[in-house]
Each structure stands twice: as C-alpha cells, then as structure tokens.
Symmetry: C2
Subunit: 253 residues, 2 copies
C-alpha cells in the first residue's frame, strides 16, 4: 500500500520545489507583498536541509496515509497528487475538513496521536519527516518556522470560512462557494478560466459541504436549469455566470 522509495531520490529534495511553488503561486494574493517575500525567501538552504530529512512515499489512489487515533510520529508534505483529510463519527458519518494538494503540509499539530485521517484521492507522492528531527530543524530555521506559521494561519482562516459555510449557508450557497474556491487549489493543474475540474466524486463533495450526494446532485441540476453552470461530464463543469454564482456564495441571493 505504502512504498518508500530509495533515499537517493531524496537528494533532489522534491519538497523544496513544492514549497516554493505553492508559496509563490496562489493563496497569498491577499497578503501584503512582505508576507509573500517571506514565503519566497524561506532559504533554499533550509529547504534543502529539510529535503535531506525526507523519505519519499508513493500512494496509490485511495491509500490511507493517516488514520485518526494512531500514534503520530510523522509530519508530511505533499509533492504530487491530492489528499482528502477527514474525521469520522462511530456510525460512519464523515466530515471532510479539507482537500490538500502539492505543497501542503499535514500533521503539524503537535499531538501524540493524529486527530484526523488522510487518504490519497489519486496516485500521490508525499515526503515524510520524523517529528523530532523535523521540529529540531524548524526550530533552528526561523524562515521555515515563519513559513509554517504563515500557512497554518491561512489554513485557519480557511477553516473559519468553512465553519460559516457549514453552520449558516444553504445547500446552493455551499455549492456555489465550493465551485468558486476549488480552482486554484491545485498548483500543478491550473485550470482554464470558467472551467472547473471536479476530481472528487459526489460523496466527497457532499461530505465536504455537510450535505448528501442526492442534495449535491439536485443542487447542480438546479444550477444548470438556472443557467449558472453547464456540464460536460460529471467531473468537469463550466461556470456560465460567475457573478451570479459569486452572489450565491456570498449569501446575497
């Protein structure tokens, strides 16, 4: 299921590229230029030392990387592909708390046990670090620590948006928010404007938005009828009226 590759591969320190790319590309449009540059300058030397600590792990689609409740000796950085992060209730109800892509970190929360599960949504590659050496290096590298704080803060802000969505938005508002947020999350696959790839299946969208697959499907149909979107396949759609969609997402109706 999980296959560790040769350490030799590590020399090229794949996480370096991932980290830097992500920091420079998306997300930071709302940060001041200053924050951006701090991301960028997380010196190559530090990142390379980080790379030297990494084990590269390849995941097949559907492979479980992290199981909630297991001891948590590792921190991960995604270098290719995408993962879903979720929490379960004993009866099987699932809440997906996020989709992660190349460049994202996982398991930073310092806790003896993982507090969420994570699975590959497609064939993916991650770098794995033992927590001890990882923290030690981070502690000695202010730019690294700064980058982690910066990212974690952004994730927290995203989490607060998701709380608003889950607690107070209607089904159509949730879907609209989702469709507008989705592109630009995968730095390795920039999408044409207006085109939205839905790499996940309906069940995952539902569990991310706090809905059921039936409601997801019905809402998409309603959106098509209203002319807000059009679909080519179940995994690809086109936003026909972005402004209208944005209004729904913002709860303006």
């Amino acid at each position: 299921m999980i296959i560790a590759l040769e350490p030799s591969l590590v020399q090229r320190s794949p996480p370096v590229a991932a980290c830097v790319d992500r920091a420079q590309s998306s997300d930071c449009s709302n940060c001041g230029a200053r924050a951006l540059s701090v991301c960028g300058t997380a010196d190559i030397s530090d990142l390379q030392r980080l790379g030297e600590l990494a084990e590269v792990i390849k995941l097949k689609s559907g492979a479980v990387l992290i199981r909630e409740g297991d001891p948590a000796p590792h921190v991960f950085n995604i270098t290719a592909g995408s993962l879903r992060v979720y929490k379960l209730l004993p009866d099987g109800r699932r809440q997906i708390t996020g989709f992660l892509f190349a460049g994202d970190f996982l398991g930073l929360a310092i806790s003896e046990f993982y507090v969420f599960s994570a699975e590959a949504m497609e064939a993916s590659t991650v770098c794995r670090f033992r927590k001890g050496p990882f923290s030690a290096l981070v502690a000695r590298s202010p730019p690294l620590e700064h980058m982690l704080l910066h990212r974690t803060s952004h994730e927290l802000a995203a989490a607060q948006n998701q709380m608003l969505l889950l607690g107070r938005k209607t089904a159509i508002e949730r879907m609209a928010s989702f469709l507008l947020d989705l592109p630009g999350h995968d730095p390795t696959r920039p999408s044409a404007p207006g085109h939205v790839r839905l790499p996940m299946k309906r069940a995952e969208i539902a569990d991310y938005l706090g809905l059921t697959i039936e409601t997801v499907s019905r809402v998409l149909t309603r959106m098509k009828v209203k002319g807000l979107i059009s679909t080519t396949s179940p995994h690809e759609l086109i936003v026909e009226r972005p402004e209208r969609l944005r209004q729904h997402a913002a709860g303006e109706v």
Copy 2:
C-alpha cells in the same frame, strides 16, 4: 468605547503572564512534554520585549474590537475577559467561530484586512501590537514564533472538530460537545467539576453551534428531561451524567 490606557501600565507587561499561564495550564495535555516545555520557555525576556510593544486596551461588554473587512494593522492578545469571534452573511446570519479567553491571540493571519469580527462578551482587556514591530520581534525570537505556531496548530485542530460538529452532528450531539468543551477554556475561572458556567446567551450558543435559539433551548430541556443535566439558572448548569453526555458528543448512541 475603546479606551487606551497609560503606556506606563505597559511596563508590567501583562501579556507575559497571560501567555505563560495559558501555555502551562490547559490545552497541552495531549502534546508531548517537549512541546510543553517549549511553550514554557518562550523566554521571559522575549515576552517582556513583546510587552514593551503593547498598548493596553480596555473593552466594555459588547464593544467591537475588530470588524471584518477593515484594514488590519494590529495583532491582539487577550489579558482579561472573553471575546467572541464571528463572521456574518449580508442578511445577518452569523457564525461564531470561537470564544477566546485570557492568553489567546487574535489576528495572526497575515492579511491586509480582517477576515472576521470580534466583540467583547464582558468587560475585557487586550494588548494591541502593530503588526510590523510584532512580526519583526517574532521573527527574531524563535521561541515566540514557535509558541505562535503551536497555538495556531491547536486552533486549527479545534476548527476541524468544529467542522465535524457543524457538518455532521445532530442538535443534541452539538450541545453535548459544547457543554463538555466549554469548561477549561477560561484559564482565569476554573470551574468546579460538573458545574458549567454559560457566560454567553442562547443566541451566541446557537450561532456557535449552527442552530437557532429555540433549538438550543429545546435541546437543553430534552437533556434535563433525560436527566443528563440540571440547571440552577439559565447561565449555570450541572452535568449529572457526564458519561452519557460524552457518548452523545461522540455520536455514539
């Protein structure tokens, strides 16, 4: 509404006490001892330099400290009292994303504008830092930055729990989770075991749990009928069957 006190008061650097207290007291029970010690050792000298940057601000109950969308020149640390953090939709729907108490930081996400609002729930005191000098100091003090990362990671973990609650839990499960989480959040007012202070009103509980005040009230009544809790006043209750409540919170049953 907002009254800045004499800078002289700052000399005693009240945030120092707050920071250290909180780090040592709650929260970290699930961190390894190492993490704890890192919190604790966020050297007094660094914290004092932080204190020198602070302006002390007193807030009356209900005062708005932060308004979503406003320019965001400051970072805050709460030294006394409690705040609610929330996001609004244009039609007035509100999602409270968290309650903050003495020792908590606000506004760390580096963004040009605040992405949430914050109000005092009672008479409170906060320390205010200009973002520039604050980040500069933090960047020069690895222990400080580490503490911030540590806290932010924990907040993120809490946010993920809240997403599970908002997306997948029933009304009674939400309330049970809330009642069990609430105590131990205010380090300045430790509560007797089994006793839960509800300093907020029903509307705030509702907006935190993604429910309405009527449902909050009905669920509390149902809990009383079931013998799970008993109430002395609307703002104080006693958990009669903690194990049963815990089961509800976990979604067993």
